[in-house]
Amino acid sequence: MPDEPTAAVTRLLVNGTEHEVSASADTPLLYVLRNDLGLKATHFGCGTGQCGACKVLIDGRAVASCDTPLWAAAGRSITTVEGLGSAAHPHALQRALIAEQAGQCGYCLPGILASAAALLALRPEPSETEVRAALDENLCRCGSHNRIVRAVLRAARESTEQAG
C-alpha cells in the first residue's frame, strides 16, 4: 500500500548527543524521544499542539514535539528537560521551581520548563506580564500558575545576579 509507514534511519541531536533512530519519517518527535531514546520527561497531553505538555527546545525555540515530525527535527539541536539540568547540575529554572514549590501534580512542568527556558534565553529579565504571555500556550490544570510565574521570575533574578 502506498501509505505504509517505512522505517528509515534518522540522525537526531538530542541534549548534545547524536542518535540514530529507526522510525518512519512522519513519526511525531514526542514518541521517538520517549520510546526510542527513553527520555520520559517530555509528556503527551493532546497530540495537537494545544496544551504544551510536550514542548521541547529545538534550536532554542519551544516547540510542541507531538506535532513535529521526525524529519523536521533532523539535523537540529533538540533539548529536553533531561538536557536542561539534573539534580547534580540543576538549571536555574529547576532550582527555582523547587524553591517556590511550584507544582502539584507536576505533569505540565517539563513543557513549561521548555517555554520558560526559551523566554529567558531571549529576555533574561522579563516582566511578570511577559512571563505569563510566554507561558500562555502551556496549560496547567492544578492551578500552580502563580507559583510557576514566581519561579520563572526568581530564576531570571538569580541568573542575572550571578551573571552580574
Binding site: P5, Y31, K40, C51, C105, G143, H145
Partner: protein
C-alpha cells in the same frame, strides 16, 4: 449496592475501635516496615494525585518515629498488601490515613524501643530516639536499622500508645518540601505514563463517536495489515488496536476510525435548556434536612431564585493511561486509580475473574480532581492485553477520550426560596436540587461501573450515578444545608433516574454549585435589605470559626476600604466544607469589561492543624484557580448526539488570565487536621458572581459567567 468494602468493616465492628483507617487495617506490618539500611517503608491506601498527600503522610510517620523525613519511603499502594482505605477522595486522607499512620507509627516506635531495651539490657524508659538512632541514658546504643525485623510488626495495632503531643511536634506543622517535586522537575520517570516494561506493546481504543453509538461494521483488514500491528480487538462495541510502536498504534487507530461505521442516536439533552431538562426528568427525591416549621404567617414576602451549573470535565493535562499484563490467567495492572481495591472489585466483575487473580498497583497520574477515567483506562488495558498474553500493554487515552468519555461532574439546577419578614429577615429557607448522582465510582455496585463494561459483547447495564451517603458528605446535596443561623429550612434533593451523560464525582461534588447558589442568594437578600454583604453574613453566623475566616479575609482584602470604580466589583463567598470540614472565606475582586476578569482572590482558611502549611496553601491556591476557571469558562459542549472532545471546545484558564491569590491560614494547630483540597471551590464561585453583581448590578445565575451570559443578564 454491593457492600463489599463495608463487609470488612462489619467484621471489625466486634473489635475495639481503632483510629482512622487502622480500624479496618489492623496489622501494623500493613502500614510500615523497618529496613536494614535505615530507611522505613510506609504504606498508605491513600494515593498521591497531585495534592501532596505523600509528603504530609511522610511527615506524620517521620514525626512519630523520630526520624528525618528523608528516611521515609512511601510505597506505592498495591492490592498485594497495602491497607485498604477505599478511595482517595472527599478530602479525607489526612483524617483517615494520617490518623492511622500516626497511631501505627507511635506503636511501632514503642515496639522497637522494647526490642532495644531487651537487647541493650536497659529499662525502656532510659531510651530516646534521634533520626532512628536509639540511645540509653547510660550510653548504650542501637538503631531501628540494627533491630530491623519484620516479625516485630506482625501483630495487630492496639492503639494503646499515645502519639506525640502536638506541642512536641518538630516536623508536623512545618512546610516540608514536597517529596515528589524534585523528581518531576528533573523529568525523571514517575507517572504511569512513563512506566515501561520489557517487550511492551502500545494500545489505543477506538471509542464510538457518541455515547449511544453502536458499531455496525468494522473492517479491520487495513489496520491488521499495518506492519507492527499485533492485534485488533473487537468485543461488541469495544474496539482497540495493539502495536509494537506507539505511532503505529495511532496509525492503526486512524485506520480503524475510517473503517468503522456506527449507528448513532440522539440521546442527549438540549444544552440550551439544560436547567429545565434536569427538572423534567424522573427522579428520586430525598429530604436532606429540615429544621423548624417556618412562621409562614409572619412572612410578608417570598423571594425565589434559580441557579444552574453545566456539566464539567476533569480535563486533566494527561489523558488517562494504564499498563496491563496477562500471565497464566493472572492479571497485573498499573494504574492511577484513586481506589485500587474498588477497581479490582469491578474488574473482577467485568472480566469474570476472581479478585485474587488480579493485582493492582498504583502509579501516579497527572492531577486528579475526582472520579476521572483512570479506572476505565485500566479496564480498557485489561481487555486489550488479553489479546497478547505474556506481553505488557500500555493503553494511552487520547485527548478526545479524556474530554468526551471520562465521567463528568453533573449539571445541576438549584432553586432557593426564602420567606422574609417585614424587616427583610429570613423566616424560612427552602433549597431544591435537581442533578444526576455524583458518584459512579467502581467497587460499590452489583454491576461494574467501568466504561468498557457497558460496551463489550455481553454488556453490563450502565449504572445510574448515585449520591454518596450523608455520612460521607453526600453528593448533590453536599453543602446544601446553610451554615447560617436560620430559624427554619427544608432542603430536598432530586436525583435523576436517567443518565444520558455519564456523571460522577468532581472535586467538591455538589458543594461547588450549592455554595454558589446559597451565597449568591444571600447576597441578593442583603442587597434587597440594603445591607453590606459581610455585615449581613456576620449577623447570621454565631459559629466563632466561621466568623473568624470571614473577618480575616475581610481584613486582608480591606473589604471596608474598597474604592468603587466603574467596571470593577468585589464580592464575598463563604462555606464550611461539608458542614464538618475546613472553613473557607473568599473575597474576589474583578474587572468586568468585554469579559469578566478576576484580578485578585483573598482567601482565609481554617483547616485546624495544618500538617504542612505550604502544602495547604498550595492546595487552596490551586483549588481557587481551578474554580475560577470553572466559573468563568467551563462547560461541556454537546449537541443532541455527540459530546465535543477537544481543548477548543473546552477552554480552561490560562497563565495570563490567572488571578493573584492570597491565602491566609487561620492557624489552629491544637485542633484536629482537616482536608484542604475542596474547601475553596464553592466560595470562590460565589465570590466571583457576587463581584459581578457589584460591578454591573446584574445577577448572573447560570454558570459559567461567560460574556454571552453576562450580556444576556444585562439585556
Amino acid at each position: 449496592m454491593n457492600l463489599a468494602p463495608r463487609r470488612v468493616a462489619d467484621d471489625k465492628d466486634k473489635l475495639p475501635q481503632l483510629p482512622g483507617s487502622l480500624h479496618v487495617n489492623r496489622r501494623l506490618s500493613q502500614w510500615l516496615r523497618f529496613l536494614r539500611d535505615g530507611t522505613i517503608e510506609v504504606r498508605s491506601g491513600k494515593v498521591e494525585i497531585g495534592q501532596g498527600i505523600a509528603t504530609a503522610l511522610a511527615q506524620i510517620a517521620a514525626e512519630e518515629l523520630d526520624v528525618q523525613i528523608g528516611r521515609i519511603r512511601m510505597v506505592a499502594a498495591s492490592t498485594a498488601g497495602s491497607p485498604d482505605e477505599g478511595v482517595t477522595s472527599g478530602s479525607r486522607s489526612v483524617q483517615d490515613s494520617g490518623l492511622a499512620l500516626r497511631h501505627a507509627c507511635a506503636e511501632a516506635r514503642a515496639i522497637y524501643l522494647e526490642a532495644a531495651a531487651a537487647r541493650l539490657g536497659v529499662p525502656v524508659e532510659s531510651l530516646s530516639v534521634a533520626d532512628g538512632e536509639i540511645s540509653s541514658t547510660d550510653g548504650a546504643h542501637t538503631s531501628y536499622a540494627a533491630l530491623a525485623d519484620d516479625a516485630l510488626l506482625e501483630r495487630d495495632a492496639s492503639a494503646s500508645i499515645a502519639p506525640k503531643e502536638i506541642s512536641k511536634h518538630r516536623l508536623v506543622g512545618t512546610s516540608a518540601e514536597r517529596i515528589d517535586l524534585a523528581a518531576k522537575v528533573y523529568g525523571q520517570p514517575r507517572f504511569v505514563h512513563d512506566f515501561e516494561l520489557p517487550n511492551m506493546l502500545h494500545a489505543r481504543v477506538l471509542r464510538p463517536p457518541s455515547p449511544a453509538a453502536t458499531l455496525n461494521v468494522l473492517d479491520a483488514a487495513r489496520t491488521r495489515a499495518l506492519p507492527g500491528v499485533i492485534a485488533v480487538v473487537r468485543d461488541g462495541n469495544f474496539v482497540g488496536v495493539l502495536a509494537e510502536r506507539e505511532e503505529i498504534a495511532l496509525k492503526g487507530l486512524e485506520r480503524l476510525r475510517q473503517d468503522a461505521s456506527w449507528q448513532e442516536t440522539e440521546t442527549l439533552p438540549d444544552a440550551s435548556t439544560l436547567g429545565d431538562w434536569l427538572k423534567a426528568q424522573p427522579a428520586e427525591t430525598t429530604l436532606v434536612a429540615e429544621r423548624g416549621a417556618g412562621a409562614k404567617s409572619a412572612a410578608v414576602e417570598t423571594r425565589h431564585a434559580r441557579y444552574t451549573r453545566p456539566y464539567l470535565a476533569h480535563a486533566s493535562i494527561a489523558p488517562c493511561c494504564a499498563v496491563a499484563l496477562w500471565d497464566e490467567e493472572r492479571l497485573r495492572l498499573w494504574t492511577h486509580s484513586q481506589g485500587i481495591y474498588n477497581l479490582r472489585a469491578d474488574l473482577a466483575l467485568a472480566l469474570a475473574l476472581p479478585p485474587e487473580r488480579i493485582d493492582v498497583e498504583h502509579m501516579e497520574g497527572a492531577g486528579c480532581y475526582g472520579h476521572n477515567g483512570a479506572d476505565d483506562a485500566a479496564c480498557d488495558a485489561a481487555l486489550l492485553a488479553r489479546a497478547a498474553p505474556g506481553r505488557p500493554v500500555k493503553l494511552q487515552w487520547t485527548r478526545t477520550d479524556e474530554m468526551a468519555w471520562a465521567p463528568f461532574g453533573p449539571a445541576m439546577t438549584i432553586e432557593i426560596e426564602a420567606d422574609l419578614d417585614a424587616g427583610g429577615d429570613i423566616l424560612a429557607w427552602r433549597h431544591d436540587i435537581w442533578s444526576n448522582g455524583h458518584s459512579s465510582r467502581p467497587g460499590r455496585a452489583k454491576s461494574p461501573t467501568l466504561l468498557a463494561a457497558a460496551q463489550i459483547d455481553a454488556p453490563f447495564e450502565r449504572v445510574i450515578a448515585i449520591n454518596p451517603p450523608p455520612a460521607a458528605g453526600g453528593g448533590a446535596e453536599r453543602n446544601a444545608v446553610p451554615g447560617y443561623d436560620l430559624p427554619a429550612w427544608r432542603i430536598s434533593s432530586h436525583r435523576l433516574l436517567t443518565m444520558p451523560i455519564r456523571t460522577s464525582a468532581l472535586r467538591s461534588l455538589g458543594a461547588y454549585a450549592n455554595v454558589f447558589a446559597i451565597e449568591s442568594f444571600l447576597d441578593e437578600l442583603a442587597a434587597h435589605r440594603g445591607e453590606d454583604a459581610l455585615a449581613y453574613r456576620l449577623r447570621l453566623l454565631s459559629d466563632p470559626r466561621s466568623r473568624a475566616v470571614l473577618e480575616a479575609a475581610a481584613r486582608r482584602a480591606n473589604w471596608q476600604g474598597w474604592q468603587m470604580r466603574e467596571g470593577r466589583g468585589h464580592g464575598i463567598g463563604f462555606a464550611r466544607y461539608k458542614g464538618n470540614g475546613a472553613w473557607c472565606a473568599v473575597i474576589a475582586e474583578i474587572e468586568a469589561a468585554r469579559e469578566i476578569r478576576v484580578e485578585r482572590l483573598v482567601i482565609a482558611l481554617d483547616v485546624g492543624l495544618a500538617i504542612n502549611p505550604d502544602g495547604v496553601i498550595n492546595q487552596i491556591e490551586g483549588g481557587a484557580i481551578q474554580a475560577t476557571s470553572w466559573t468563568l469558562k467551563e462547560q461541556v459542549r454537546f449537541d443532541r448526539t455527540r459530546i465535543a472532545g477537544t481543548w477548543d471546545d473546552y477552554p480552561i484558564l490560562r497563565f495570563s488570565e490567572t488571578p493573584k491569590v492570597e491565602v491566609e491560614l487561620v492557624l489552629r494547630q491544637e485542633e484536629p487536621p482537616l482536608g484542604a483540597g475542596e474547601a475553596a471551590q464553592g466560595p470562590t464561585a460565589a465570590a466571583i458572581a457576587n463581584a459581578v453583581f457589584d460591578a454591573l448590578g446584574v445577577r448572573v445565575r447560570d454558570l459559567p459567567l461567560t460574556p454571552e451570559r453576562v450580556a444576556a443578564a444585562m439585556a
